[in-house]
Symmetry: D2
């Protein structure tokens, strides 16, 4: 049986020994660290939901490799229905967990690599697809979770990878041996990377040119491999959690706020059977195209849709707690958030429904590129707008509220209960918890994290123009015909 139980997952995590640092200190026992516990809780919940009948249609799928039931995060979409379900799975996890659930990196990676390795083999006579298929089977059979680190430090943004003063600014192959490759560099922003079993490392999402073959590398390594160092994010939310006396004081008690890590690759050895791209520059644009197609319907089009449901729900709840839910401007603000949610969702649906098989004959399906970009476009600024609207409905207390600890302090508790309740029927505790939940989003890092983690809007516009160019000639023809212009 390819599906781990929650307990089996917890056992597997207990065995991980990444060289991990947080806030300047080495973390020896990850499973007891207050900043890592929520990441583990979140992942554990996803394993639990693989066995939950209410969620199984989304969390599991039938492997095209083995015919067995596997988790959908590492299932390759075999048809349009699979694409719809991938996107809906991510939405459902966002609704259920309220934070990154750390598994969609793998979803995108296995999707892209299953096509890429086929196409490379067809053109180059390589054996990448066999390697990748073996690896995918390994992931599926052991029900492993994998991230897909992608963002390099980038250094001086005006320079290409090969022009950087420090050649390690972008992760690259430092040496090739008979047995494998040795890589050096770092990947940033990896969400929950210290807990995922595997890392499927991607090259940077930029066009690479002649002489930059060493940067065009894609491979997988297990968590804790020799040479890996994990340095975790540590900001206000992490400090608050370390200092909390009871997780109920916090915005999302169980699953926390997200924790990212930079992963340093200090001459890490990767055996050839885990290398899926190594210098084939001419395939990076194919890779990018596939990545964009899957990312847009999973990230802004999937994950953020689920977050929007939470924001709308929380905004409506706090408006009710404040007694203003019936006001015209409140209804208007809710409508505006719904607009972002529904236009995005409609675009995702349309993108998935118009999917194409690629490469032909592969039974691997990719969403329409333009409409996936439109999903991302609708959500991009709309999500940030929703942050402001929700904060507006919450009122100033979303920032200025005292700690929930006051409710346990006999000297202040009665004041809090008296003065922080709004509508008399709702006790102050409930209102404070909903405010704290909204603080997590609107007055903390989550809003901006959602902005960055979903990819740049600047890039989105460029890709949109590129997609649109082909259609301009036909549009010009139509306009000229009506204007009476003959070319």
């Amino acid at each position: 049986m390819a599906l781990k139980t929650r307990e089996q997952f917890m056992d597997s995590v207990a065995k991980l020994k990444p060289r991990l640092f947080i806030a300047g200190e080495r973390v020896e026992n990850m499973v007891e660290h207050p900043n890592i516990i929520p990441v583990i809780n979140t992942l554990a919940k996803t394993y639990e939901l693989e066995h939950d009948p209410e969620y199984q249609e989304l969390t599991t799928a039938t492997s095209h490799l083995t015919g067995e039931k596997v988790n959908r995060w590492i299932h390759v979409p075999q048809n349009i229905d699979d694409l719809h379900k991938s996107s809906m799975l991510i939405t459902a996890m966002s609704q259920k967990l309220g934070v990154c659930h750390y598994r969609c990196g793998a979803t995108e990676a296995v999707h892209v690599l299953s096509s890429l390795t086929r196409v490379m083999d067809q053109k180059l006579g390589t054996e990448y697809n066999k390697r990748f298929t073996n690896y995918l089977r390994y992931l599926q059979e052991n029900d492993l979770t994998a991230g897909a680190p992608q963002t390099d430090p980038k250094g001086d943004r005006t320079k290409r990878p090969s022009q950087q003063q420090d050649p390690d600014t972008f992760l690259h192959v430092a040496k090739k041996t008979e047995d494998g490759i040795i890589v050096r560099g770092a990947k940033l922003h990896q969400l929950g990377g210290m807990v995922t079993h595997e890392h499927i490392v991607f090259p940077p999402i930029i066009p690479l040119g002649k002489g930059e073959e060493d940067y065009a590398v894609c491979f997988a390594v297990p968590n804790g491999t020799k040479g890996l160092t994990y340095i975790a994010q540590s900001g206000p939310m992490e400090a608050e959690r370390r200092e909390a006396k009871d997780i109920q004081e916090l915005g999302i008690p169980e699953y926390g706020s997200e924790v990212t890590t930079m992963i340093v690759f200090d001459d890490v050895f990767v055996p050839w059977e885990r290398v899926f791209l190594c210098g084939e520059l001419e395939f990076t644009s194919y890779m990018l195209d596939k990545f964009v197609r899957t990312h847009n319907v999973l990230c802004r089009g999937g994950c953020k849709v689920g977050y929007m449901d939470l924001i709308i729900g929380a905004a409506q709840t706090i408006a009710e707690y404040n007694g203003i839910a019936g006001a015209a401007h409140v209804r208007d603000k809710i409508t505006e958030m719904v607009r972002t949610r529904e236009t995005t969702r409609a675009c995702v649906f349309a993108a998935c429904q118009n999917a194409k098989e690629d490469p032909p004959g592969s039974s691997i399906y990719y969403a329409d590129s333009m409409w996936g970009l439109m999903a991302s476009t609708c959500m991009g600024f709309g999500f940030q707008e929703a942050m402001l609207l929700a904060a507006d409905l919450a009122g100033g207390a979303v920032v200025t509220m005292p700690s929930e600890r006051e409710l346990k302090n006999p000297e202040t508790s009665h004041y809090i209960q008296k003065y922080l309740r709004a509508t008399p029927s709702v006790p102050a505790e409930k209102r404070m918890r909903m405010l704290k939940f909204l603080q997590h989003w609107t007055a903390g890092p989550q809003g901006i994290l959602s902005w960055h983690s979903a990819g740049s809007m600047q890039g989105n516009r460029l890709l949109t123009y590129n997609e649109a160019v082909a259609g301009l000639e036909e549009k010009k023809r139509m306009a000229k015909e009506l204007a009476g212009i003959k070319d």
Copy 2:
């Protein structure tokens, strides 16, 4: 054979004798009037396209009544594919004609009435559906075009129909006889109404209450019925066309700018077999819901998508003629227009693909309401933004250009050719024609007409909120669960 040829249509128009006024004068011979010719040309073209193999898949359908090939404008969508094609038909006509093509009123009317009359008969034991089916068969067998006048003068907007000082402010049943009803009032803004064969008159799109039964009336009358008077719009574009020496001077030479008419109903008799609603207040909200579902995917979601293609095409053309098409801000403006076009189209696609049969067992399909509203939302402000962007790319000459007549004037022609050309490879004549085409949209009434004819954005928001309300409880539940709130 149920499809008229262009010639048969022209013959049928020659027989119409509406009591028509334009600019203060009676129009005796409609087919020779410069303001009516473009309307006739447009409709004639649609008949021509019923026989054009390139367009037939969209312009025709198989009647569910007779099994014969009929024009799709008066075909009732029997499945999801039909819905997609209805919307695409309207888009294609907008692309091809650049003006209202005057036939989609019928499309919406027959769609709504085919369900409404069934539902009424089921509940009330009436025979409306039989009447309506007979009428529909008559339309299909004779390949007739029909408008669906709907907007009443409305008078004092703070008052309901029954409270108006003049009871005729909203069209209503003035008398019922054994043979039929006598109606009085007026309908405004009817696009091309003086040329369509039939008028399927709809009640106002507002909730009607007890005592307002006479306003809840829906019926059909032929063009030119006794008691009807048509008073046409006459503004700058109409004057320009009347005064033109050659239609090539004008923005869309052949199909012109649109002409609307108010239609006065001065005690018009309608036989019972053409009455499809008469006082059944309790069905007006059902009617409204169906109308909204069909309207959003045909109008902002269909028609305006086609217009956007023209605007984008014209904007790109004029940018090329001006030599600026490669500039970053120009590409950004094109991208912005594409955004509106594609998000709208994606929402329409999603709305149609998620259609539901209504009433059950009827084989009549309606698009999803929320996503249809989202299509309308995306296009609403986006279309107006595109007007400004296109005008910006065109430059000031979009307003200040001289008449094309100068090109035939030996005293000025050489100056025009010398100084109104931009990129040397494009002669001034082509540039002037494209500017004139864009003038039609961006510096004339077409932009705002598109705003109003597609329905109010204010109403769109209210309907969106109403649609969203049902889902708020589930969203609240999800947010509360994560915030640790137990109700």
Copy 3:
């Protein structure tokens, strides 16, 4: 006495004999042509207002040359109060006339040239300022009106003036003689140019480089000078006016919609005493800076503020006529328009109040550049937004209304009176006139003309960044100090 009466102005116009074409025909008798009459009416009104006690504080000033009372349009601002009054004069004219009043070109020209010629003389030892002062005295003593044609045809926008295939694409000096210069080229978009007594021709508003000395030319010529040809704009509004039976049918009966003209310079001789710049490339950026400073507080910051008052007034009136003025969304729309009006006006006030003398010791004052740019920024998109809001409040009839001629037609008049009235207390005629007035703006060319005539928003942003650059270092320093960064 330097102020012409209305009659004296009319006499002076009767003597003008420009070689003028409209719609392909030579205009022999300008004062009787329906498209020119409104231009003459408008200018005549401005002369009338020079004698109107209510307006004289704005329309007149004391000449610094003669100490006599002169019209303020050709008065050089001697202090901050003068700057405020220049801007307020233009606003007042827009409020009073509702169209371009054709005199502010001169205002900007005499302002810029009075400084430019001084500065050049100081640096170069030339006598430009003497020439210019003589010319200015001539204008003031004869109370003449002058436009300032500036926009060249521009040809291929990717090329500089000297790179164009046709060297006449930008107006330039074709020959220099002992007595003067001979110029060739054309200027576009000149508002009312066929009626102004003089043309003060400006070089293009772009940086000119080595080898483009011939394009750096500024001079004055009288209307009708040998070699000048005027080709007037002719679009829908012009056609409507030519075809009107009674000017009351039109949107702004007396003053019309604006008419621009292109002016062709076919080897026109200009004596040296009317040449104010001729090849001095190094002063064009000074000229541009002065132009921007005066233009922003007169155009978007002056003229468009007056138009906004009209739009707001008309929008509020039509909302009242329609009976919706109390609705929340209507008040919100009015507020939004007021926002644009008042932020612009505040920026203009601040820009003028912070004026600087330039060159030092000259007693010539220029508004602050950044805040003038901000005035333009506030009005730029805000004016276009107001067009849409006003059209929305007007309703569809702003496009679809019949001609006012129907009110004189006994067959239709009663229908119009019955069905085009809204609030019963307001007769249909009033409502139709206000709709027609709004049609002029929102469904005609005036909205977009305002966009283009005020200068590109793209350019506005670039100038803003350039203004801002100097202040960035100080802002960086402040942020670094707080962040604990020591450089």
Copy 4:
């Protein structure tokens, strides 16, 4: 000498003994608490700047009561120059401190009360002004700092103060005695309230009606008065500061992030000489008008302008550190921030320059209301937009960065220095500090706190409409005249 030195201020704080709670615990020694130290540092710096020659023109003024030099925060503006300087003082403090400086509440309070008490005395024959003047002299002579708590808990927002289930929901007079009043209730969101010497308590900013006299109360009490309890805000930023090992780890090391407190008034006695309003309902609208006039030019128009300078400076710095400062989209983003900054500042300038004396003869000046509202309007959404733009330029590391503690950890320091530097010339430490500074704003509570603390934009719009109403008649008249409508 009325100006305290930094040391004198520190001594005065050491004597304060408020009953203060943070995070569920009683704070016995405020001057050593990590969350209070930054508040004290900030205030101490403002006292220091009272003696700094570079700042004294702004930080001090000449008292109209004593003729002595006093701090400007409690100086009543005697002329237009004073108004300009008040606004500029607040801007300068924001630039210098990057957080609330806790003294402008007093500025607004003494401004409003100096007029209000005069007007009341004139109408009612009371002695409020004498009382207030005594109090003001006391503040000035002792150079005290005062907050002005204003926001009540508000309870059920659909109900008025007198309708709330708990009458203490709004602070009110519970009892009047011969010697004074006893008040009960609470005030929320008081920035730095535990450290200010005095509290000048204001009634809620809502119209109060008959029967609500007890809520119309304004008075002053010293910090720590019997019956007062302070419960401080405690969120992520406060936790991070408590847990920090070195303040250099934090975004604004010295001045921290702001800390607010709710202040509970549990039957607090106020002697009559400190009561400035007590039941005079008819003066609350006058009070509101004055408050709005002073608030808009100090808060969004003053304080937020200074913050914007920091955001722009930080955004430009991080863009340079990242090596992207020359990119077109970056310049565009900087321009957009500058737009918000400069339009706001221009409106403030215009508002102050057009101030009016009120009441007449008082020598007390208030800024223009409409243009003050416009300042607030420009900054409102613009500030939130700037948060997003700055976060975008910073990149994802603004959220995901590790703690600066890693730089002291020999196991990770070299990795951080290698991989978190961007442009090679800038060491990682500087980049991390600027990112941390920006995190404080864009990924923490400061953005939203600025939104709420400046007053609701919804209210801003309503006030704007109310201001605009008077001018609508004149605008209607102008439009009608041009449209040919005679009333």
